[in-house]
Structure formats: C-alpha cells, structure tokens
Amino acid sequence: MAERQLQCTTAAAEFQKAWFAGLRQDVFERKKPYAIAQADMPLELFQVMDVPVVSNQWWSAIVSAKRLSGYYLDLMNAAGYHEGLCRYCSLSLASTMGGDPAKAPWGGLPKPAMLGARLTCDCIQRVFSLYAETFGSEFVALDAPGAEQLPPRWWELSRHRWEELFEDHRLDFMVAQFERLIQALERLTGNGFDEARLRTLMEGVNRQEEILEEVRELICAAPRTPVRMHEQISNVMAAQWVRGSEWAISHARAFRDEVKARVEQGVAACPSERMRLMWVGAGLWHDTDFYTAFEERFGAVFVWSMYLAFGPDGYIRYGLDNPLRALASRTVSMNEQLHNPPWANEWIVDQARRHRIDAALILRPLGTKPSDTGNRFIERALEEAGIPVLPIFADMVDARSWDAAAMRGKVAQFLESVEARCT
C-alpha cells in the first residue's frame, strides 16, 4: 500500500475501523439494529432513524483490499453460482455465505436487522434476497424507474432546479417508496420519523459537499495536484458513508484545510508531476498501489475519480422545504449521472477539462458486465475532446484474473504514447 501523505487519511482509516468495531459491539452486546444497504440507497433516512448503515460496496472494497475476494468468490462458485455473475455488489454476500469466520475482515459482518437496495441492475434483487435469506433479515427493495428525459448539463441544474431535472413522476414514486422504507425503520426502532431532523441532516450534507467542492477547486487550480486520487477517495468516502454528521463535516473541513495548506506551501503529491490522469469507474480495490505506479517513471499522477468530484455536483440540494423529495432527487438518477449517456459522458468531459487532464484510464469491468455500460460513449467523448483513453479490462473487486505486472506494462506503453504526443 502506497504511503499516506495526509494525516487526514490516517484519521479517516482509523475512524472507519473504530466505527465498525463500535457497530459490532452495539449489535452483539446491546442488540442494536443496523442495516446493510446499496451505496445508492437514501442512507440519510437510516441515519435520522438512528440505524447505522454499512454500505454494501464499501464492504466489498474492504474484502477486496484484504485480498479475500478470490477466496469468497470461489466459495460462491462452488455453491452453484456461475463464474460469469457480477461480483461488485455480490462479494459482500459471498463473504457471508461460508468460509472460515477467522478470515473475515475486522471480525466480519454481524447479522443486520435490515437490508436495503434500489433495484437497478437485474441481479440486485436476487443478491439481496439471498443476503436476506442467509442472515434471516428483512429486505426492503426500492424499484427504479428509468430516466426518460435527460436535459443537457445536469450538474448545472441539480442544485437548484432538481425538481425539473429528475422528472415529477419519478420523484413522486421515489418519495412513496421512501415512505414505505420509513415505516419499516419505524417498526424496527420503535421511533417516529422526524422531518425536521432530516432537513437538518440534508443541510449538513450540503455543508459537507460545499467544503468538498473547495477541495475539488483547489485540485483544479493548483499547478500540481496536492493530493493523490486514492487519498481523495479514502477521505471523501469515509465522510460520505456518514454524510451530514458532525464527524463527516469536521473531517471534510480537516481534509480541506490540509489540502489547502499543501497548496499554499507548494507541496505536490508527486513533485515530478508531468501528466495528469483521470480514473473513470469504480476503484480498483484489490490493487490500489496501481494508482501510484506511474509517478516515478512518467510523473503521471491520478488526479481525478468520480468519488470526490461527484460529491458537490451529485449531492448538493438547495431548497429543502420538502427534504424527502430533495432526497429522492439525490437518489433517483445516480446511475444515469455516473455511468450512462448522455449525462456521464458530458459530465466527465467537463470534469476532465476543468482538471486539466492529459489522459484517461477507463475501467471496463468485464467480470461485472452489467456495470460496463456507458463506457464507450465516455471513451468517444473524451477522445473527441482530445484526451487519449486507455480502457482497463479488469474487475474492481475480483483479483483472480488481474495480472498486475502485465497491466502496469500496458499502461506504461500507453503513457509513452501520450508523452510522445505531448512533446
């Protein structure tokens, strides 16, 4: 694992570990309920009902980073689930279906009181039903109508004009489903839902994302990036999973201050920075060292991933008279915004320009086929904008077919060609 350059990164990692240990203790000793949910669920509703949530994708990333994905996925395949099935959102399930409990990261996932997922890809209702059966827990599913109208430059509308951006019928439907989820959370906790508390939390999320926007602007403007991409991700996501909370806001602030100080002192993540890279897609969780592997030889630094950039554009909502509806607008189109045409390609090109990107690497998750969508449109749009692109055919969590050396060689070749273009 590459060295940590920011103190904040260590603080974020420590917080997450302690948070998870506290969660296990609460569940085992105090019998408190917690939930496992897909990352694109309205985590805010769980928070205001005092039900901590483990994000399914976060846990997948932890299992993968501990190099356990092969072990668990082999077990799942042996149970009759074929090898062509998508792994990103099912690795956590695999890690609960058997195997040696002593191997599980951080002691493993305790039994959740509830599981929650938006039914995006066709697999997910199946994965979460199995999860629910394995644990004997309730599964709340929110169905996901597709976007029909997708006006240009969504990120210029999403903060103030979200009502018109996300289509009334989809917002109404999402709010109705939220009400069902709230009822389930009320049954679980015995507490009533408090709309004012949600509004306050949403205001907190806005504050947090405004701070993260400052970080994004610092990275855009600094002559050389002050913070490596994978450290951006660690800091941002530690805050996003508990977004709007006191800790999240103060961590975002500490992160911003540290980045700002580095910019003011002229500290660069890679002092020999000559090439600014963009990583499109989910993180390569099983090999995060990959992200620093091209600094020494090429001065090539990963500057951008969706994780920081999406915070301000995807989460800020002004006009919180009806916080539930505003939350619905944040939830209803994440997949279109991040992964599908026209929204993903348009936004990513805009981000590439603002971040002065020289070349882009695009994760093409072959082992996670249903999530390899929209990428050809993104590749074409970047190339049209004059940014060379290298597709990386790999799985975000499954290391079984990842040849680290060969892949580094391939990227090196690509960067040589980018260098040659620039000189």
């Binding site: 689930y81 099935l85 169905d143 069902r180 249903p370």
Partner: protein, 381 residues
C-alpha cells in the same frame, strides 16, 4: 406430409409433420419476423419484449411487432455498445443504427430489464449526437415489476402516459384490440394444451412465436385451425420435460432434447408456454386491465419477489418428469436463480440437468448430447 423449412438463423432443416396452409403461414411468420411487417399500411411500432402493451399500440393505429433479430456480428453497435450486453439487445441496437429498420415509425422499450433501459439511453444519445441518422421515435415504457403498492400505482400512471404519447385513440378501438388480443391468447392456449401429448416443443415454438409478428386477429384464426389439425394426431411418446432459464427465441435446444426421445412440454419463457397467460380483463377499465395484464401476468427478469417469479415454474415442474436448465453463456441474471430453483426441484424429487452451451447456431455440442442422452435415459427408466 413432411414440410421442411429453414429457420431464420439459416441453414438448419426441421421436419414438421401434418402441415396445412395455416400451419405453414404461422411458421412463415415466425421465420420472417419483422419482414412480415414490411407491407403494412399502418405505421409499424417495434417492441423489444413481451411487456410492451400490444393492445395500446394496436388501438392507436400501429402495427406492433417484436424486434427479434438473429444474434450475430453487430458492426453498427460496436462503436457505442460494450461487449457485456446480451446478443439480443446488441442486435436490436445494431439493426436500428444500420438503417435496415428505417420502416419503423416508433420503438417502444419497456423497462423490463436493465439492458432495455440502457438500450433506450443509447438510442437517445446516438440520436442526439448524430441528428442526421434516421432513427425511429423511441419511447420508454416505465413498467416496473416489483410487487408493491407503489409500483402498481406508478405503472398504471405510466400506462396512461404511454396511451397519451401514442396519440389520439378511442376507447372503442382499445376494446377491439383487447378482444383481438384475447382471441389470440385463447388460440395460444389451445396450442399449449396440445403440448400435453400431441405437439413437440420444436414444433410448438414457431407456432406460438408467430404471435409476436402477426396481426392478432389473423393469428387467432390461423392458430385455432392449426390446433384443430394437430389435435387429430396420435400421441407422442416420451418423458415430458420443461426448459427453464435463459430466453430461447429458436427451437434448436428443444430439437436437441427431443432427438433423445423426450418431449419438451413447457418452457418458462414468453416465447413458449408463457406467451398467453390470462386474458386481459374485460371487467375493469380498459387501461387498468391492460396495465394489470403486463404487470401481474407477464414474465420478466425483474419480477420481484422470487416467490412470485417462481410460482409458475414450480407449479409446472410438478407436471413434468424432469427439468433442463439452460443458462446462456452470456448470462448474468438467471445464474442467481439456479441454485434456489435446483434446490426446490431436489426437495420435490424432480430430476434436473444444467446446460450452459449455446444452441443458437443450430445445435448443441456433442458432449451436451451425451449429457442429454444420459438424462433422458434416466427419465425413461
């Protein structure tokens, strides 16, 4: 009399006994697929799956037809569409971009799978980026399949919106379309009943599948007659099996299994046994009745929960001697169901076999035949 015909995938010959002009016409429509819509005076509306509400399209003056090209190279799709898409979605996208289907006025894409939603977005984006390309109008029908009060209310409202978007049409036209659709379903059911003992699976699929490419009043007339003719045949011997898993828009796997002395009496697939289901109710308001038909009584990979999705399968499994699971090589959905469904069969003592090889080229590989032979021998014993 034996009637040999070529399937639309080309090259493979089948023998279908007891032919008649009606049977031949049904087979011809199944084979011709979209070509049958070419001479239509009505504007042609392509649909991408079984859950597009045929009655609404028909009442609005369209000739609805299922988009179902043979899988194969997709050079027009390749610059935009990733390899992970299933062959069917990729081929539909490819033909639309190629201009080969420029006679289509409209395409209606139900949100019946995630790939279909992506297809809608991709088509929209190509149209936006390349306005000179001639593409049909594309509508997304946001029909959801989770069984919840909210999805039901939402689906009904989206059905009403689709009805508006299709243009002015009268409730009388809709009532007529419902009657025609129901007559066609009645005919489908008559053919399906024959699968108990008179009609093999390989024979049945073209006769049933023609339903998606024809005017439904015509289909009803021809299929009723075909069923009458087939009813007079002697019973076909052999253990009855069901196919479960990935969709099959050709009869090759059926033929391979039946070549080993079994009879494919059912498949959990809208190309076969699930084509008809119940009639559209004539007791309810027509829009609500049409919506409920497609929401409650049409198979889709997104039907949720599993107990609802599996109900037909488990009921039908108890009527056959064995089940052949076919999970296509590019599958990323059905494989999640397979272990659960396999256990359900084990619990009921129903034998099963899993095949992963793709028969779309005309036949399954020899090792597959060995496994099928072993399985059918076991069933016969």
């Amino acid at each position: 009399m034996n009637h040999a015909y070529q399937t639309y995938t080309g090259g493979v010959q089948f023998n279908v006994p007891d032919s008649s002009p009606e049977i031949e016409q049904l087979q011809q429509s199944y084979r011709a697929r979209l070509a049958g819509a070419l001479g239509q005076s009505r504007p042609v509306a392509g649909v991408t799956s079984n859950t597009a509400p045929w009655e609404l399209l028909c009442a609005a003056g369209y000739f609805p037809v299922l988009l179902s090209p043979a899988n194969g190279p997709a050079p027009f799709a390749a610059p935009y569409m990733e390899a992970g898409f299933d062959g069917r979605t990729r081929s539909i996208f490819d033909r639309l971009l190629s201009g080969e289907w420029s006679f289509l006025h409209t395409v209606v894409i139900p949100r019946t799978s995630e790939q279909e939603h992506k297809l809608f977005l991709y088509l929209r984006e190509v149209a936006r980026q390349e306005p000179s390309r001639k593409l049909p109008r594309t509508l997304l029908f946001n029909l959801l399949h989770a069984q919840s009060a909210e999805a039901r209310t939402y689906g009904l409202s989206r059905t009403r919106e689709l009805w508006k978007a299709l243009g002015p049409a009268s409730m009388e036209e809709l009532a007529k379309a419902i009657a025609d659709g129901n007559a066609a379903r009645g005919a489908l059911r008559a053919l399906l009943r024959l699968r108990a003992d008179r009609l093999s699976g390989a024979e049945a699929l073209p006769l049933l599948g023609a339903y998606y490419f024809m005017d439904r009043a015509d289909y009803a007339r021809l299929a009723v007659r075909a069923a009458d003719i087939m009813a007079a045949r002697p019973a076909i011997p052999g253990p009855r099996v069901m196919i479960k898993g990935s969709m099959l828009d050709h009869p090759h796997l059926h033929r391979a299994i039946e070549g080993h002395g079994a009879v494919v009496a059912a498949e959990d697939d809208w190309w076969g046994s699930r084509a008809a289901g119940q009639d559209v109710s004539t007791e309810l308001g027509p829009l609500e009745a049409v919506f409920l038909k497609y929401y409650e009584d049409a198979p889709s990979p997104r039907v949720f929960p599993a107990s609802v999705a599996d109900a037909w399968f488990l009921e039908t499994a108890s009527t056959v001697a064995g089940v052949v699971f076919y999970i296509s090589p590019d599958d990323d959905v059905r494989g999640w169901d397979y272990p659960r469904q396999r256990s359900a069969l084990d619990a009921r003592g129903i034998p099963h076999l899993l095949l992963r090889e793709d028969p779309a080229g005309g036949d399954v590989p020899p090792e597959c035949h060995d496994r099928i032979e072993e399985f059918t021998t076991r069933l016969k014993g």
